[in-house]
């Protein structure tokens, strides 16, 4: 059920350099959001910026929904300036989240940078039911946000925390050393990372779902602005907002990448 609601802001936390977690009250979204789904948020009452901004559902606590973001431009600047009690206009929960009902035993959660965003809710959905191993990668340790996650390993470009290198190499090394029972990879992050992860998953024959980002105007399937190219599907493109943002990595063609 997709909702259009005005939600009071309940918390604004700075959790890293320019990394913010905002909570707002929406009992309906809190009750119905699945991991990997997103919200399309109108950041202020004007038409500047024009589009809503999409953010993954980061976490849910009772009647509160949280998102995590890095301050980039006009949209995120408007959001970070929100005071407690002010409201945001939210469409959500939108899109298809991760599939958690299939036959796997170990969930390998992989987040690159703020691609960590959908993982806490996923952890909550899987915790106690599946084995979970979480792999976080970022440029530096300040950009690693480990909250609400289980069994974490980290990789940083500058070796300031954990493994020096990419999170995909970290996972590859892990799989070389550990016997993992019936694994499935769940991932979110930059396209280059997801593309590399897709290759690893194919090489090791592990199912892998990834959450993609595209520019979005509506977020609800009416503008046709968010195509994701598919491999051998009936249609050449799927809409990221409606048929995604989560896709089986082997069914998509990343921009500028060949399968």
């Amino acid at each position: 059920m997709m909702l259009h609601t005005i939600c009071p802001v309940t918390s604004v936390e700075h959790v890293g350099p320019n990394i913010i977690v905002i909570g707002f009250r929406s009992p309906e979204i809190a009750a119905s959001a699945n991991a990997g789904q997103f919200l399309n948020i109108k950041v202020n009452e004007t038409f500047q910026p024009l589009f809503r901004r999409p953010f993954s559902v980061y976490h849910v606590e009772e009647e509160t929904v949280k998102i995590i973001f890095q301050v980039f431009g006009l949209g995120t600047q408007s959001l970070v300036a929100k005071q407690l009690g002010e409201s945001v206009d939210v469409l959500g929960p939108l899109g298809h989240g991760f599939r958690v009902d299939d036959n796997f035993e170990t969930a390998l959660l992989v987040g690159g940078g703020l691609g960590v965003a959908p993982l806490p809710l996923l952890t909550r959905q899987l915790s106690g039911k599946k084995n979970i191993a979480t792999f976080l990668g970022a440029r530096t340790k300040e950009q690693i946000v480990p909250s609400f996650l289980e069994n974490i390993q980290t990789a940083t470009d500058d070796a300031s925390l954990g493994f020096k290198g990419t999170v995909v190499s970290l996972l590859d090394n892990y799989l070389k050393v550990h016997q993992v029972r019936k694994p499935k990879i769940f991932a979110c992050g930059p396209n280059v990372m997801l593309n590399a992860l897709g290759e690893l998953a194919q090489r090791r024959n592990i199912p892998c779902e990834v959450s993609l980002e595209t520019t979005m105007a509506c977020g609800i399937g009416i503008c046709q602005g968010c195509p994701v190219e598919r491999v051998q599907q009936e249609k050449k493109y799927s809409l990221c907002c409606k048929e995604g943002p989560v896709f089986d990595v082997q069914t998509i063609i990343f921009p500028n990448a060949q399968h």
Binding site: M2, F47, Y237
Partner: protein, 314 residues
């Protein structure tokens, strides 16, 4: 209670607010959020004979107060529309207008004829103005003779209202409006998107895969308003105003400039209920201003400049 009804040819709209083609999907995508029956009408995404994949990403870019798109008429095709989408639209208590796009004259005729056999379509809007397709598209819309030819060919195929949707990417839109009227159109829609572009200065690449695309949203409102004013001065058939209408105030401006009805486009992406809110706003405005019928507003622009307001504080 003010009367908010307007007429477009033989069509009665309960209020002057339609959703613009390509900005409201096929209606069913938003059924959980919007009561389509509260709109004056719904115009479908452009339908082509065969399904179309649309252009490669990137298809949309946000610009100052606007958006560029190069969707490329991605649509499920007229047959799938009839099977999958029309049953839902038929149930709504509002006017349904099918928008048709094609790359040849015959194809326009074929799509219209297929729809003509179905219940639930109240009229047709002919897209001769899409800037984002290689064949047809803008080539049709920027040639007066072509517009006349398309209208003449389609006219005998239906008794329902035939609306020609014009491109603003011409010097004198009045000429194109007149061509459509003379050839038998019941109304014209004014306007489609303006050709525009955006460049990523880091990569030196265009932000759209097609380099240029169509600009819509608040940024085009003054441009579109001028086109509506010009076109409505030139013809006796109704002009449906489109371009950057985000609020009821914007809609009133278009009515005053000469539009009989208006279409809400890009605003639907920001708020799918924008059309309903604009319809409500127009009604309240009439109520508060003691306007008995919204038709009193159409073309009621007082073009003589009144300097008294300025001088009152000088």
């Amino acid at each position: 209670m003010p009367n908010t009804e307007v007429t477009i040819g033989s069509l009665k709209l309960k209020n002057p607010v339609l959703t613009a083609s390509g900005t409201f999907g096929y209606g069913d995508e938003v059924k959980e959020l919007v009561d389509g029956s509260k709109l004056g009408g719904i115009i479908t995404k452009s339908l082509s004979l065969k399904p179309r994949d649309g252009n490669a990403p990137n298809r949309i870019v946000e610009t100052s107060g606007g958006m560029l798109n190069s969707i490329g008429l991605a649509n499920i095709g007229v047959r799938a529309f009839i099977e999958q989408k029309l049953p839902y639209l038929r149930e709504l208590d509002t006017v349904i207008i099918a928008n048709i796009a094609a790359s040849t004259l015959d194809e326009y005729c074929e799509v219209l004829s297929l729809l003509e056999h179905e219940n639930g379509i109240d009229g047709y809007e002919i897209n001769v103005s899409c800037p984002n397709v290689k064949e047809g598209g803008l080539n049709f819309g920027t040639n007066c003779d072509m517009i006349a030819e398309i209208t003449r060919r389609l006219r005998p195929l239906t008794t329902k209202p035939l609306i020609i949707k014009l491109t603003p990417n011409v010097t004198h839109i009045a000429d194109f409006a007149r061509s459509a009227e003379l050839a038998g159109a019941d109304a014209i829609s004014c306007v489609n998107t303006f050709v525009g572009m955006a460049i990523d200065i880091r990569t030196k690449k265009p932000k759209l895969s097609t380099v240029t695309g169509g600009l819509s949203g608040p940024a085009i409102k003054p441009l579109a308003l001028a086109k509506v004013y010009e076109a409505s001065q030139a013809v006796n058939i109704p002009v449906i105003g489109i371009g950057g209408i985000m609020t009821w105030e914007d809609a009133i401006e278009f009515l005053l400039a000469g539009a009989t009805a208006i279409q809400v486009g890009t605003a639907n992406f920001i708020d799918p209920t924008a059309g309903v809110k604009i319809a409500d706003g127009i009604k309240s405005y009439c109520e508060k201003s003691n306007i008995a019928s919204v038709t009193e507003l159409i073309g009621a622009l007082d073009a003589k400049r009144d300097n008294s307001i300025l001088s009152s504080w000088l």
